[in-house]
Subunit: 197 residues, 2 copies
């Protein structure tokens, strides 16, 4: 139905997450109508991102340099490391604008079913960073899922013996959340995490 | 917040329709994790589509050749031309698989407010095709909007004097549609278009 280069473009766009056949066609038609230089800029941005971006050798955030902008920022508090599963989680915390410590991106969570053990994550590198000294608190911000919780416990068990405080982000009702719509686990966690007023 | 090549990629992806900042970030992260050859294939598909695809010189469908696959297919019925606003409308009709005539893509609809007059569309080329002879019916399938209706009337007024039958696709309730949820205009059109059973 499509002329081959159009069919190919639609097929490549369909590989992207959340892009079904209909959206892929819409995007492809849009790309055909974009100014020439914008279409070239998009293709170029894909190639450049792939060739220039690499993991920070300290925290595994994305960077163009050896060490990322957060790790090399002298204003960041080096006594705190916030451990996240993915770079997107780091970005979510940065967007909030309140956290001033460093990060450590694990590259996922422990998931034996998917063949992801400790060696598939950047856990040993995190231990090295803590061993190097100067870290007072490791805040574990893996997601509140079974795998995220297991990963958090696994890391906590390795770091606590090193004499460093390990904390887990609070689990409870989201701001503006409705008790009536919350699942039982969330309510249980919210009750367990209750604080005196 | 993002390392420059990542920020650039997100910015380029955000130009695409229906892609907000959040989806652009998600797509960019996905592109960073894709196998190298898939990312290159995507960039290449964008560039190839732009360089190889052009409008069919007969009907303005997308094609790699002078004349598109539909226009050059000897099995298509050359006595019918279905006039559509965009290539995506042509694709929607082709997907149905019942129409065997030819098409004519206008490249939009008349919209004086947006500076789109007859000369911005491929109307004169449509008249040439009809003048060349062999066309028995021009089916106008512009969308059922004010602009689509005005465009349909404008084209009908030019073609009817040439002695060729001009029809407009039916407007009414969609299959499976609920009268209770239909807007008054749709109900009016459905009533006006009623047929004896």
């Amino acid at each position: 139905m499509y002329t081959p280069p159009l069919g190919k473009l639609i097929q490549e766009l369909e590989r992207l997450p959340g892009i079904g056949p209909k959206s892929a066609q819409r995007l492809a038609f849009y790309i055909l109508h974009m100014p020439e230089e914008e279409a070239k800029a998009l293709a170029q941005a894909i190639l450049e991102a792939r060739s220039k971006i690499r993991p920070c050798k300290e925290c595994f955030n994305y960077t163009e340099k050896e060490v990322c902008e957060i790790c090399s920022d002298p204003r960041r508090d080096r006594s705190q490391i916030c451990v996240v599963a993915e770079v997107s989680d780091l970005m979510a915390i940065e967007r909030m604008g309140e956290y001033r410590g460093l990060y450590h991106v694990l590259g996922g969570v422990l998931s034996p079913a998917d063949g992801i053990g400790p060696d598939e994550l950047t856990i040993s590198k995190l231990l090295e960073r803590v061993e190097r000294g100067g870290v007072e608190e490791v805040i574990i911000a893996t997601p509140p899922t079974v795998e995220g919780d297991v990963t958090a416990s696994y890391i906590a068990d390795l770091i606590k013996p090193m004499g460093v405080k390990v904390t887990r982000i609070a689990l409870g009702l989201p701001a503006g959340g409705d008790l009536d719509y919350a699942d039982p686990t969330t309510i249980l966690r919210a009750l367990e995490g209750r604080r005196e007023m």
